[in-house]
Symmetry: C2
Subunit: 350 residues, 2 copies
DNA sequence: CCTGATTGTGCACACGTGTGCATTCAACGA
DNA sequence: TCGTTGAATGCACACGTGTGCACAATCAGG
């Protein structure tokens, strides 16, 4: 028989139930292994007849291309690394949901990697490289410039989503945090509330900081006039509990208690609202106006009806994979910084 | 020089910036490639001195084992397939969160695969096999017996979580749906409510059906006495919106309107509550008692304070990976059906 | 000094695929 | 009939690793 480098004895049978390989298909269809490979890849140079015949025998034998071997040969897998930290942030979850769906639709597979421990970031991203990933999406943490150069050298595209970093050779996609902060400011100024506040997690996140700064500079004129006051509020965690405890702390009463709070993200706003309404007996928006950011699913629920700034997770995901695909396809784009438009959503909390 | 099967010419340099391989480390450290491989795997038979030396040169050159090549050679990767359908169900998200974290801690990597389209289930699971996955966790859909045998033949363990199927060679882990349904029934019987209902998604899910059936058989005696009545309620989707619309439909008023509803899952219960409270002006638990199932994070929030049956996502994940690890390790366990205990959580909705 | 055991390393093969290049074969024009 | 062309397919190599087996070296016991 033909075939390359066959075993010394006779390669007829080895184990009882071995996995079916391209060589098996080749033997069965009476062609060479190369032809099988080309048929599975829909190579142009294969005649229609043999292609059909080979694909049929392949299906009959239950042959599937071994992705690992393929990846090894081509030095590129169809995996896309998803760097995230836990599945707790609602908006990130919505984004990942869209992202996973779109990645899969593009013929890739998401390989999730958790960097809840920020120290692991560097080695985790390097480790990802060992899976021959076709690309990486970072939704948490900031890769160091060093890992950036590693990716650049290997020509593996990286997209940072809603992150600060400017990484060499990587795309950065953010929603329009500045405009969002301004929209929130405009709304609260119009509402007639006087004691404004901005609630963010202690230490701040990049997105939160930008939103807060835009908010503050927008209200600055009125602040200078003395018409209104502003307080910067801080919570311990960027989630429901953080917002809840912040509510207990800041809304207990007193002269300077804010009557309108812009929250860095919806999830915090929900906790804040619940503390105000169910623990302190305040009404929303009567005693306290609240604006969030993201427009997560829970913000639409009847129990909250949160007025907020919407960033669309599906569009964010779309931009991300579109960018990845083009870079994987070989388009040699320079680093770019893309901005997703936001939209003000008026509900019941202002 | 030594080395096996080196290139015809002189394999000194090929491309400008090639990726560093074990051969490079071997050359640099003055040992054979085999020794490098053994050093990276912490093989016992390597002397302490050379191991240290090799590992140092490896670190210095920035060498990392190529997982793809390794997987190919060992015909087993360190990937674990996670079969799910979208990131929309809150409890499943919490479970996946724990699962991903634990999988990673065990030295594996999660490969996510979305089967929102149930028709894709079969080929997706077969496709997964081509990545040489070490194991698979199914949290959505029901794999056919046929794919089951493929996995069995390849000796790749499968764990079904909160699913109906009894798959040959696979473990099935469920929370104690029966006991949960009974706990809910006991609670509502004690509450003094008379017109009981069970709300599940149209067509039903395995878990939901079991919970409902246990609920019904528990209340059966009192039902026979005529002391209470029971209605089976149906919503169009197993989420917040489904519960919400079901609330509008069933709670609009009339003689038979239920005054106590056991929901197949928390997420539905939240929508139901909001429809009752904010659309129909009912009070909870005054006009309507509600019990959920799962104890998702939102159930604990002030806006809901949902009385529910808790299944612990972290323990579920723990059982899952423990089971996977033992099977991957070679333990030859028969198919098993494990049950996770549940716990009644009393809050404000009954 | 000889024998056997133990320890540390190297050699060569195998894993399953993609692809550049050579080769075969039929068709076709002169 | 011969040379040329184009299409279709096979050959052989390479990808980077793990590991069984063989072999060298060291050592203990007689």
């Amino acid at each position: 028989m033909s075939g390359d480098r066959q075993k010394p004895g006779n390669g007829a049978k080895k184990k009882a139930h071995q996995v079916v390989t391209s060589a098996d298909v080749a033997r069965e269809a009476g062609v060479s292994r190369s032809t099988v490979s080309r048929c599975m890849a829909d190579d142009e140079r294969i005649s229609e007849a043999t292609r059909k015949r080979v694909q049929e025998t392949a299906a009959q034998l239950g042959y599937h291309v071994n992705k690992i071997a393929s990846s090894m040969n081509r030095r590129k897998s169809d995996l896309i690394g998803l760097v995230t930290s836990g599945l707790t942030d609602p908006f990130r979850i919505e984004f990942l949901d869209c992202l996973i769906s779109q990645i899969q639709q593009s013929g890739y597979r998401p390989l999730v990697i958790d960097v809840s421990d920020p120290d692991q970031m560097g080695i985790s991203m390097l480790n990802l490289l060992q899976y021959q990933v076709a690309g990486v999406v970072v939704t948490s943490g900031s890769p160091s410039p060093e890992v950036g150069t590693h990716y650049l050298k290997r020509n593996v595209p990286v997209v940072l989503v809603n992150r600060a970093g400017r990484l060499e050779g990587a795309d950065v996609i953010n929603c329009d945090n500045v405009h969002g902060g301004e929209l929130a400011a405009d709304m609260l100024l119009k509402s007639g509330k006087k004691r404004l506040g901005f609630l963010n997690v202690r230490g701040g996140t990049y997105s939160g900081n930008v939103r807060g700064e835009a908010f503050v500079s927008r209200i600055a004129p009125r602040l200078a006039d003395g018409e209104i006051s502003f307080t910067s509020l801080v919570c311990d965690s960027a989630d429901y509990d953080g917002g809840f405890h912040a509510g207990l702390k800041y809304l207990a009463g007193g002269e300077n208690t804010p009557d309108a709070i812009f929250c860095a993200k919806d999830h915090i706003a929900l906790g804040l609202m619940d503390a105000a309404r169910f623990e302190l007996g305040l009404t929303v928006p009567g005693d306290l106006a609240v604006i969030g950011f993201d427009d997560i699913a829970a913000a639409r629920q009847g129990a909250y009806q949160l007025t907020t700034v919407r960033q669309r997770a599906d569009q964010l995901a779309e931009m991300t994979v579109e960018r990845l695909r083009r870079r994987i396809g070989g388009d040699d784009l320079g680093d770019e910084r893309l901005v997703l438009p936001v939209e003000f959503i008026r509900r019941q909390t202002v």
